[in-house]
Amino acid sequence: MVSLSNRTGTNSMEANGNPPLLELTGISVEYGAVRALDDISMQIHAGEIVAVMGPNGAGKSTVLKAVMGLAPVVSGTVYWREQQLAAETHEIVKEGIAFVPQGRRVFTHLTIAENLEMGCIYLNDRAEKFRRLDSVMELFPVLYEKRRDYASQMSGGQQQMLALGRGLMASPELLLLDEPTLGLAPIIVREVFSKVAEISERLNTTIMVVEHNIKGVLDIVDRAYVLDKGTVVHNGTPQSIRDTDILTQVFLGSA
C-alpha cells in the first residue's frame, strides 16, 4: 500500500523538459448552439496525475470526451506523442488510452471476470490476457474475492473498482477517469483516490482525472487545471491552487 504523502509532486519534475505525452491545442467543442469548450489547451506529461476541476457545466467531462473522440470537436488538435491523434474511438484505444466513463457503466449481467475481459479488445494473446487479469485482481483484491459474481451484486464502490480495473486491462499508458467518486460515500472516496495513486505509482500510468471532489483529489495529483465556462482559468500545482482563491471564485462566483 502506498502512502499518499510520498506521492505528490514527484513525477512532474521528471516530466520537465520532455515533450508532453498528450497535448490539446485550441480545442473547441460545440453541442449544437452550446459551446462546451472554447479554445482549450492542455499538456499532460508521462507519469503525471493531472486533475481537471471546475463547477457543473464547466466542460470538464467534455475534455476527456474530446480526447476519446466522443465529443463533436469543431476546431483544434489533439497530439499524442507529438503526432496527431486519430479521431475514431477504436483507433484511440489502440494507441494506449483508456477511458473510465462517468457513472461506472459496468455490465451488470456479466461476471466480474467477464467485465474485466471487456477492457482488452485488442489483445489476442490468451496468456497475456490472464496475466493482466491476475495483476488487476492483485491490485484490487475485492475483484478477486467477487470474481464469480455478477457486477449487479456489487456495491457502488466495488463497481467503481471494477470500472477502474476494466480500464487497466487495456494496459494503457494514459488513463482517463471521469468523476470516479461520483455518488460514493466519503470513506469509499478516499479508497478510490488511494487506488488511483497506487495505480500511478505501481504501473507508472499517466492519469487524467475529472473530479468534483476537490479536497481529496488535490492530495493525489501533481497538477490541476481549473475550468470555468469552457475555458482554462488556472493551471498549476495543488499548492498553487490552495494558495489562491481561484476555486472559491469559480465555484461560488467571483465577487
Binding site: M68, P101, T111, Y122, D134, A170
Partner: protein
Amino acid sequence: MPFGTQRIRELTGLVRDPAQLARHARSNIELWASLFIIGWAIAFMFWQGVGFAIIIGTVFAIWAILSVSLNLIVGYTGLLSVGHVGFFGIGAYTMAVLTSNPAYEQLRTEAIPTFGWPFFAVLPICAVLAGLAAVLVGVVFNRFRDDIFVLASFGFAIISFNVFLNLRPVTRGAFGIHEIARPQIGGWLFDGELEFLLLCLVFLALVMLVSWFIVSSSFGRVLTAIREDEQAIEVFGYKATHYKLAVWVISAMMAGIAGGLFASWTTFIDPNSFILLESVLMVSIVILGGLATIWGSLLGAMAFVLLEEGMRFIPYLPAEYIGQARQAALGIMLVLLMLFRPQGLVGRYRL
C-alpha cells in the same frame, strides 16, 4: 509466475463452489418448468399416438430453430426484432422456387421459373440468400435502436410479406407454390414423416450448437455488453455496429434454413405463412422461454406447440372456435407470465 489451467479457471471463476451450486438449486422453478413441459410432451405423445407426435415434433423443431435464432438478437443482443419472419420467408421461397417440380409447374397458368434442383443443394442457398438480405437490411437498421428498431423491423416484416404476395413472376403471389421437393440423398427419399423429423432435429441441434458457441465465446459476451450499455462498450474500442450486424446475419441465416425446411416439409407455401403474426409468435416464444437462454427458447417452442396443437382436442369446444381460442389462450398465458414471471420460464433477464 507459471500460469496453469487451474489458476486460469480460478481467476475466471470457472471453478464453482458448492455454495453457489446450492444457490442455483434453490431457484428450481426452472427445473420444474422444464420437467412439466417435457412431461406434458410425453403425455401428449401417449395420448394422441406416435404418428401425430411426429408431425407435432417437426412443427416444434422448425419453431425451435426460429426461436433459438431469434433469441440471439432479441435476448442476447437486446434488439427486439419483429422482422424475423421475413428471413424465414426468404428461405422458404428460395427452397420453393429452386426445387419445385418443373413438370407440374408447366401445367399451370402464369408459370414461374422452375429449376427442379435437389433439396440439399438448395438449403445452403436458403441460408445465404437470407443472410444477404440481412446484410442489406442490417446496414440500414444499425442506425436505429430501441423503439425505432422495433418499428423498422415491423416495416421489414410488412415489406417482405408484400414482396411475397406481389412479386408474382417469382412467387406466384397468393396462389402459392406447389410440389416443393422433399430431401433426397442418392436413392433415399425423405418422404416419411419420421425421417423428416429426424432431419429437422439434426438441424435444430446444429443451430443450438452454433448458438451455444456464439454465446459462450467472447463474441457472445460482447453481445451481452451491447445489450447492457452500447455506448459504454464503444468506449473500449468495440464497434458495436459490426457485432450487431454479425449476429443479425447469423440469426437470419438460421431462419433461412428453418424456412427451407418448412417449405420442403409442407411441399406448398403461400404468403399467408409469412405474415407479421408469425413474427409476433416467435417473439412470444422467446419471451415465454426466457431471454438469453437457448434452453428457454427450446422449452418455449415446445410449450407453444403443445398449447397450439393441444387445444385441438379440448372437449366440448366447437371446431370453428378452436383457432380463435388458441390465440386467446396464448395471449392470456403471456399476460399471466408477464405478471408473475416476467423473466420467462427459465430466463434471467426482463424485456
